[in-house]
């Protein structure tokens, strides 16, 4: 199982998946900081940076992602 670098196409695919599965109604109702952090994750796939933006620890951020139906896509 070799590791290949992500191509631009793969990044687009991952972002599309995150956007498609997200519960946007739930996300829209969140406080600005949490909403911004989730959108950041959806757009970039950068879990750590999104978590830092949220002000939550990783466990709670991942829980928020689950509640918002935002899948982790690597």
């Amino acid at each position: 199982m070799g590791v290949r670098m992500e191509s631009g196409g793969e990044e687009v695919e991952a972002r599309e998946l995150r956007r498609r599965y997200a519960d946007w109604r739930f996300i829209e109702q969140l406080p600005p900081k949490l909403k911004a952090a989730l959108i950041y994750y959806i757009e970039t796939g950068d879990l750590r940076r999104a978590q830092q933006l949220s002000g939550l620890d990783l466990d709670n951020f991942r829980e928020l992602m689950r509640r918002a139906r935002v899948p982790l896509v690597n």
């Binding site: 199982m1 590791v3 290949r4 670098m5 992500e6 793969e10 695919e13 991952a14 998946l17 995150r18 599965y21 970039t44 796939g45 950068d46 879990l47 750590r48 940076r49 830092q52 620890d57 990783l58 466990d59 709670n60 991942r62 829980e63 992602m65 689950r66 139906r69 935002v70 899948p71 982790l72 896509v73 690597n74």
Partner: protein, 174 residues
Amino acid sequence: MSREAIADSSFLIDWSRYSRREVLTRIFDVVHVPESVLREIQLPPAIDWVAEKLAEGSFTLFTETPDIEAKARELMALSRSKPLKAIDYPEAVCLAAGLRFGYVVLSENGGAYFAPRVLGLGVVVWRAFEVVVEAWRRELLQDLVDELKRYEEEAVHLFRRRDWEYVWSLVGRR
């Protein structure tokens, strides 16, 4: 392949939700959990499962020594100068320990996953995907496709087309 692994929070938080999570301790003799990773684990099921595995001895606490800390900070600094997703201290500790001791690093952090390739590190990083495939190879799991779908459902995770193409190549169908 090393029989020892070191896991970061992104891996453990999701893996603990997988109903077949026990296969991990059948693949690895011991899974190390850095103190900085343990600090990040707050909620069930992860905190309960990790504590249980520590008590049973299949996980062991990894205390960061000054040389590992220094290496972790060096890797963080290096990663910032490259096109990598953010790597924070706990996953950097895992990479540093993987480099030093030859452990397989378990992480769902995209930066950590590609770090070996981008930074030229001699360390193996596995996501849950690679762990499930390995468990299937060892016949600890039966149907690879079903198990990956189960993981996706239970951990709220999605595998990409490239991963699924690899799976189809293994199981010989589409």
